[in-house]
Amino acid sequence: MKLNTLRRHFRESLKSLGRNGWMTFASISAVTVTLLLVGVFLVIMLNIQHITKQIERDVEIRVHVDLSATEADKDALRAKLEALSGVEKVTYSSKDEELQKLIESFGEDGKSFRLFEQDNPLSDVFIVKAKNPLDTEKIAKQIEPLPSVGKVKYGKGQIEKLFAATKTIRNIGLALIIGLLFTAMFLISNTIKITIFARRREIEIMRLVGATNGFIRWPFFLEGLWLGIFGSVIPIAIVLSAYSYVFDLLYPKLKNTFFQLLPFYPFAWQLAAVLVLLGACIGMWGSMMSVRRFLKV
């Protein structure tokens, strides 16, 4: 394609946005509303996913070492734990460290636990992390019969429930987003269909004077692209500023909890990119669907 032709297509597509003012407005609004919904949903979904990932990551197996175990026994146990398949990391925490953590976690009130520093009733602990959090239960079962092992704790039952819940949330979210996207595509293709219908005379003349189908398609293709891209501007602005507001509001409150939101950067750029791309894709797809019908020679 010649450069001049490309320039012409660009000019024509932009001009036609202006000429079909109200249709343009309607199409862009359709994209805007849809992407706004998709954007809000994406933010919620991705944050839920982020949080569940963190919770999953915090799932650990606490292996209490039998009180009678010697240093040699501990080393042997550690080696065995590390040899288990699916284990990512084994950390040792002595009973003194455990007590220290306990005291810290209670803050001011923790001082009363200081009494136990003389005669520590806690046991040494190996903290085992699974590569895949879903394997936690399986690994815990393998650890139980090992020698020098006292108690094995991994939040039995809780983990399974948590995983089931996060999986359900993820699937529902995904289904909703796909549904929304289809609705948007349908809306846009319909709106551009009307735009094209308003210009069927132009297409008819183009065909009569010998324009190729590719040539006729281009401006509509670009027009769809613009509609999608322009339609994504407002949703990006709204979603990002709202997110930044909510983030600043919640960040101090959620500090020191499981619930960490996704940091604003680079999340903001990724979200903006996804929305622009989504807008562009549905815009182009919508116009392609509509133009095809009019191009039967």
């Binding site: 394609m1 010649k2 001049n4 032709t5 012409r8 000429r19 005379r201 132009e202 008819e204 003349i205 183009m206 065909r207 009569l208 004077v209 010998g210 324009a211 190729t212 189908n213 040539f215 006729i216 020679v297």
Partner: protein, 228 residues
Amino acid sequence: MIEMQDVYKTYPNGVIALNGISVRIKQGEFVYVVGPSGAGKSTFIKMMYREEKPTSGKIMINGVNLANIKDSKVPLLRRNIGIVFQDFKLLPKLTVYENVAFALEVIEESPKNIRKRVMEVLDLVRLKHKARFYPNELSGGEQQRVSIARSIVNNPSIVIADEPTGNLDPDTSWEIMDIFERINDRGTTIVMATHNREIVNTIRKRVIAIERGKIARDEVKGEYGYET
């Protein structure tokens, strides 16, 4: 050169529009196509720019059989054929200049050539001074002259006109005919479907009369031959 051999056309709804047409139109000829409404004139005309495909038979335009060419090649065929309609088919939001330039832009002509060619043909149809006007600011005759300018701007060897004077008053119709004659003088073949008895009988040219899908008459310097 246009040549048809045993062309038949039956529409999907069973209407037989063309019932065995064989005709030969040499390069540079001026031909009127006449006949009662519904006799197959329009179908005959549409066959030439492949708006319709024949059910059977052969249609050769400058050595290419239109019955065989692929849909994707139709645009290339049409670049060699100018088409003029009764209702002008101008784009209301483009100026006269832009309407004519449109035909060259869509076949990716260079801007320099476009300017030159458009001004040439606007001069030919005597509308150079109205290049910046919009179609709704022009009379019917002027609008038809714009559409003729558009049809010839890419130098086609054939111009096909489907009742070009159908919407115009008699005086204006003569102007249009004058322009067609001048285009014809430059060696362009003209095929014109018309109901205008006075024109056919005054500016004598070859007349092909189509009745019930067949050629009823084919006379050099013929007459309209129907009561209007």
